[in-house]
C-alpha cells in the first residue's frame, strides 16, 4: 500500500504509520464525498495524510526548524553503486533524512506521483520540489556512503 509506505517514511514508526493511514481513510470516509474529480482521489489521500502528519508533528513539537538553506554544493555527492544497495540500509537512510527531503523523496520513489503532483500534495512550488528531490538524493547517497564506511570500519575492528 503506497499510502502506508509514505506514512512510514514520514513518521518513521510502523505503528504511527498505520495510525496515519487509518486516520487518512477515516477522513476520506467523512469528507471524500466533497471531492468532485475522481482523478484527484490519489492526490487527496496523500495530501490529507501529509497534512495529518504535519498537524500531529506540530502538536508534538511546536517549533519545527529545518535547515532549508543548504545548497546542493554544500553536500558532497558520493558514488554509491546501485547494485550494492542493501534494502535495510536504504530504508534506514531514507528515514534518517530531514522531513523536508524525506517527504518529496518518498513520494518520488513510490513512483506514483509526478513532480507536479508531489508539489500539489506537499503544497510547494514545483521548483522547490525539484530542488528538494535533487538535494534529498544527494543526502541519501551521503547517508548510504556514511553507513557503508561505518559498516566497513566495524568489520575491520572486529
Amino acid at each position: 500500500m503506497p499510502l502506508y509506505r509514505f506514512a512510514l517514511s514520514l513518521s518513521r514508526e510502523p505503528c504511527d504509520a498505520a495510525d496515519l493511514t487509518q486516520q487518512t481513510f477515516l477522513l476520506w470516509a467523512a469528507k471524500g464525498h466533497q471531492l468532485r474529480e475522481q482523478s484527484k482521489v490519489k492526490t487527496w489521500l496523500f495530501t490529507s495524510l501529509y497534512r495529518e502528519f504535519l498537524r500531529a508533528e506540530r502538536k508534538r513539537r511546536r517549533d519545527l526548524e529545518f535547515d532549508c538553506d543548504t545548497q546542493l554544493s554544500d553536500v558532497q555527492i558520493l558514488p554509491v553503486a546501485a547494485n550494492h544497495l542493501d534494502c535495510d540500509a536504504v530504508i534506514r537512510a531514507l528515514l534518517d533524512l530531514e522531513e523536508i527531503y524525506r517527504a518529496p523523496l518518498s513520494l518520488f520513489y513510490l513512483q506514483e506521483h509526478s513532480y507536479k503532483e508531489i508539489a500539489e500534495t506537499l503544497a510547494l512550488p514545483v521548483g522547490t520540489v525539484m530542488s528538494r528531490i535533487s538535494r534529498g538524493k544527494a543526502r541519501l547517497r551521503q547517508h548510504l556512503a556514511d553507513g557503508a564506511h561505518e559498516s566497513i570500519s566495524k568489520r575491520e575492528i572486529a
Partner: protein
C-alpha cells in the same frame, strides 16, 4: 542551462518512460543527449533511483492493517461511494502485495498458510468490534439481507441458530466476500464468518471443527461442501463447543 541546473531537473525524472514526454524536462534531456558525461550521470542516477524505489516498495504493510481500517470505517450504504472505491483499490493493492509475498515464500504449505492468514485477518477484524451493516434480532431478515447481496451463507449450526442475533456485515478476504453474522449469548458475542470454500481449498468438508485458542479467544473452523465457516468467541473452548455442529 548549466550542467548543475540540468542535473537538478533530470533528478526529478522518475525511472522509466512516464516522465520523458513532460515538457519541463525536454531541455535537460536534450542537454544529456549532447553531453556524454551528463548522459552517464543521468543513467547512473536512474539506476540508483530504480534500486531505491524497489527497496521502498518492498517494505511490507503490517498484517491486518486493511481489516483494521475497514473495521473502523462507518458501514457502507447501498451505493458505492468514492471512499469505498478508493479503499477497495488500496485494499486490493495491499492484498496483491500479501498474495505476492505468500506465493514467493510458500510451496506445499500454501493451503494451510492461506487458512492461517484468513483466520488471523478475520480475528484482527472481529477483535475490534466492527460496526455492523445490518442489525436485527432475528436471523431471517439477516439471511435475506445476505442473500440479496449474494454473499456466502452456509447452514448455520443449530447450536448457534438458537442464539439471538445482533446483525451482520459483508467484508472481504483477498477479493472474496466474507459474511460475518454476530450472535449474542448473555455477555458473550459469537462471530460466525463464512467464505466460499474455493478460496480456502485446503479445508476438507465433513471433518470435525478445528479449535484454536489464543489471547483469550477461541476459534472453531470447519467446512461444508460450499463454504468454510469460522466461529470466533472471546471465551474458552468449552464455551465454543456448545455452538458447534460436531464437537
Amino acid at each position: 542551462m548549466t550542467k548543475e541546473e540540468a542535473k537538478k531537473i533530470l533528478a526529478a525524472i522518475r525511472p522509466g518512460d512516464q516522465d520523458r514526454l513532460e515538457s519541463a524536462f525536454a531541455e535537460a534531456l536534450q542537454e544529456a543527449e549532447k553531453d556524454a558525461e551528463l548522459a552517464r550521470w543521468f543513467a547512473e542516477e536512474q539506476e540508483f533511483d530504480l534500486a531505491v524505489a524497489a527497496h521502498l516498495k518492498s517494505v511490507p504493510v503490517p498484517f491486518g492493517l486493511k481489516t483494521r481500517i475497514l473495521a473502523n470505517m462507518p458501514p457502507r450504504n447501498g451505493s458505492k461511494s468514492q471512499w469505498v472505491v478508493a479503499l477497495t483499490a488500496a485494499a486490493a493493492a495491499a492484498l496483491f502485495l500479501l498474495a505476492q509475498l505468500i506465493s514467493v515464500s510458500r510451496g506445499s504449505a500454501q493451503h494451510s498458510g492461506l487458512l492461517s492468514d484468513y483466520e488471523q485477518e478475520m480475528m484482527s477484524f472481529v477483535k475490534l468490534s466492527p460496526p455492523l451493516e445490518m442489525e436485527s434480532l432475528k436471523i431471517k431478515p439477516i439471511e435475506q439481507w445476505i442473500a440479496e447481496r449474494k454473499a456466502p451463507l452456509a447452514d448455520i449450526p443449530p447450536g448457534i441458530a438458537a442464539v439471538e442475533t445482533m446483525g451482520c456485515r459483508v467484508l472481504s478476504f483477498r477479493g472474496s466476500p466474507v459474511t460475518l453474522i454476530c450472535f449474542c449469548h448473555g455477555q458473550t458475542v459469537a462471530h460466525l464468518l463464512m467464505i466460499d470454500r474455493a478460496v480456502l481449498p485446503g479445508l476438507k468438508p465433513g471433518k470435525p471443527p478445528v479449535l484454536t485458542s489464543q489471547d483469550g479467544w477461541t476459534t472453531a473452523t470447519w467446512a461444508d461442501q460450499r463454504y468454510v465457516c469460522m466461529l470466533a468467541v472471546h471465551d474458552g473452548p468449552t464455551a465454543v463447543r456448545r455452538y458447534l455442529p460436531r464437537a
